[in-house]
Amino acid sequence: MAVDLATTVKSDGARRRARAVRLSMADRVAIGLMLGIPALVVGALVWFPTIASIVLSFTNWDGIGGVGTAKWVGTQNYREIATIYPPFWPAVEHNAIWLAFLTFVATPFGLLLAYLLDKNMRGSRVYQSIFFLPVVLSLAIIGFIWQLIYSPTQGLINNLTGNASSGHVIDWLGNPKLNLWAILVAVGWRHAGYIMVLYLAGLKSIDPSLREAAAIDGAGEWHAFRTVVFPALRPINIVIVVVTVIEALRAFDIVYIVNRGRNGLELLSVLVTDNIIGEASRIGYGSAIAVILIMISIVPIVVFVWNSFQEADA
């Protein structure tokens, strides 16, 4: 690196300085440290675990004794996950529904809230705080709160409707056809507030003259939003898409709090935890599910990186 610097510099004075760079041990050490430490951290915290997971996913290691006790089983874990592991496909489906719900319901709703609050209507600060409040809570806490609302016999809804006393409750948490949607409402409650704040920041940064011009040209509210405001939000939109995808893939805490991610609330992240972290300790099997989750996660990451590089080039 020092050599490159020295040879590319042309002027005499600069060369003298460049030579000084080349000779300085301290600078070389500094550069080495500045590159080396992050490289080490990334290697130890990202690449090593990733590659270890991939390798372990082809073994039957049970986490007891050294890795040496692991037996190589080839693609058996993957075959079994896809064929005889009942929670797997529901988990994939639930992750997909989660993503679709956030993308097509919660995110647009957050945008709507932001757009309305941006109008500077009376009390908009109060509303803003109310909608943003759930964002400061962790999803685990949100799980606790909504269980108080949904619980079959002691929950708010079933008691308000009188179902609890009649004994014919709506089983919001235990009915596998219902509980995912009940949980998604809770998740959407938080997600919409998050999206709202991001979009509010974006909307505030739009040059007011753009909207004035649109208004003078006679564009209606919807038309102006579609052709002027929304395109101007493009940089925010990319962030929003990434946030939404990440939220959908990393979803875990709320379902784990509600029923440990079983019975209609299976998610890939839960299956990984169930197999690896709990008493079960099927490290190889769980790693295989984790690798599948990595593969799925890589798609949006690649799209995002590719997109941002294009942006930088333009």
Binding site: N60, G63, I84, P152, T153, G174, N175, N179, A280
Partner: protein, 446 residues
């Protein structure tokens, strides 16, 4: 209190006891001391068998505890105070949340485990013994053998025949009900399957939820499978099935699920969204008539009058060949880790924990369990405890509960989702058992 003579101690041990008692006085508050002494006195008054071979040992034993609930936590604290007082050995307790402790057991035992820790009998203990993570304690058992019935001795051994486990208490799974409800409606205790179904039908007509049921947390449903399987196919088959030696898609297992499906119309509404506490509350509130659960159901009856109104009966007979000869009665107790640092102290502590004295101190604060030690005092037992002890003593075969009798990975990753699937869709028994069988082969085969 210092006037009272100690149990059986050599002079130096006595001196040490005096010493440590002074240390204790300095460290603990007067209230804590009073509790300790109260416990000891109780043990002695009931003619406890002395744990004669305890010696004075300096140093500290570390103890990993899953007793995160206030009642057992306080109970253990009292036990250890008494132990320190007798032997001069200090106990350093590390209490971890109950469920967290269980989930982290693998990493815990391979990391820096405490010398002695709380755990369960059954395959769930034998598995770790087999993996070489526990220390055999045959020498501790030399003195303990006369104190425990044969069944409990057998449950304390690993698959290699060595002792690993010291039991402290167990509790039966049975059908709980409120005496007042049965009296008001004139219900009779069912002793056969048909009587049970008839009773359930009658309760439904009377506007009750016949059988409280909850399985949001996944494990409570295992108790119903266990008892049905033991009633229909017998204890021996049940244990072989749990050990992976029988096929899950056999007609025998299908028969269990067929019977279970007959009970389901009588279960609580929304059972898969309920915790056992919520279902127990239905029983306490007289909304539900019966509840098959462990005797810890009594924890939910916080009013003394409600607790006194609780009673239970053993699950009715289904197959006359097996009658009512088996129940689930899980045993809790202690193990010594392979990596124990203070082995002499740890063994001494285990010896003490096996004594009737420790047992008496423990059960004084915990009133839902039954002593494992046959010489423990039964003077403090409430009616439920007495009946529990009689049920356990009078039952030929004692199983440990599904998640203790089978492999942990099979119980948690296969059986919990499968039983929940069955509760959602009781019609597809064939699909269910063949799915379990395929996963069983994969897990037990590896």
């Amino acid at each position: 209190m210092s006037d009272e003579t100690p149990l059986t101690f050599e002079p130096d041990a006595l001196a040490a006891r005096q010493l440590s008692r002074r240390g204790l006085l300095a460290a603990a508050g007067a209230a804590g001391l009073a509790a300790t002494v109260g416990g000891i006195t109780a043990g002695r008054a009931s003619g406890a068998v002395p744990s004669g071979s305890l010696e004075h040992l300096a140093g500290t034993v570390t103890f990993g505890s899953n007793a995160s609930d206030p009642v057992p936590k306080a109970a253990y604290a009292n036990v250890f105070k008494a132990f320190t007082k007798q032997t001069g050995t200090k106990v350093s307790i590390n209490t971890v949340d109950h469920n967290t402790f269980q989930e982290q057991i693998n990493t815990y035992l391979q990391g820096q485990p405490q010398d002695v820790f709380t755990w369960f009998a059954g395959y769930r203990m034998q598995f770790f013994a087999q993996k070489g993570l526990l220390s055999p304690i045959d020498d501790v058992w030399e003195g303990l053998k006369p104190l425990f019935p044969a069944g409990l001795q057998a449950a304390s051994k690993g698959l290699d025949g060595h002792f690993y486990f010291v039991p402290i208490y167990n509790y039966p799974w049975a059908v709980f009900y409120r005496k007042s409800v049965f009296k008001a409606h004139g219900y009779k205790i069912p002793t056969t399957w048909d009587q049970l179904l008839t009773l359930a039908k009658k309760m439904k007509a009377d506007g009750l939820t016949p059988i409280a049921f909850a399985d949001k947390d996944g494990w409570p449903a295992m108790g119903t499978f266990d008892i049905l399987n033991m009633r229909i196919n017998g204890y021996a088959f049940h244990i072989r099935l749990m050990a992976g030696k029988e096929a899950w898609d056999s007609p025998k297992v299908k028969n269990v699920f067929t019977h279970w499906a007959e009970l389901m119309p009588y279960y609580s509404d929304g059972a898969l969204g309920l915790t056992w506490q919520e279902a127990a509350q239905q029983l306490i509130d007289k909304q539900a008539g019966m509840y098959l659960l462990g005797s810890f159901v009594g924890q939910q009856a916080t009013k003394a009058a409600d607790h006194a109104d609780l009673d239970f009966f053993a699950f009715p007979e289904i197959n006359p060949a097996h009658g009512q000869d088996s129940i689930d009665a899980p045993i809790d107790g202690f193990l010594m880790s392979k990596k124990a640092k203070n082995t002499a102290g740890a063994k001494q502590l285990l010896k003490y924990l096996g004594s009737s004295q420790a047992e008496n101190i423990y059960l004084k604060t915990d009133s839902n369990d039954v002593a494992a030690n046959r010489h423990a005092s039964k003077a403090h037992y409430n009616a439920l405890q007495k009946k529990s002890a009689a049920l356990i003593a009078g039952t030929k075969n004692i199983a440990q509960y599904m998640d203790r009798d089978t492999r942990p990975d099979f119980a948690s990753t296969v059986m919990i989702p499968s039983l929940q699937q069955f509760l959602n869709n009781p019609a597809d028994i064939n699909g269910l058992v063949s799915s379990i069988q395929k996963q069983k082969k994969s897990i037990f085969g590896s």
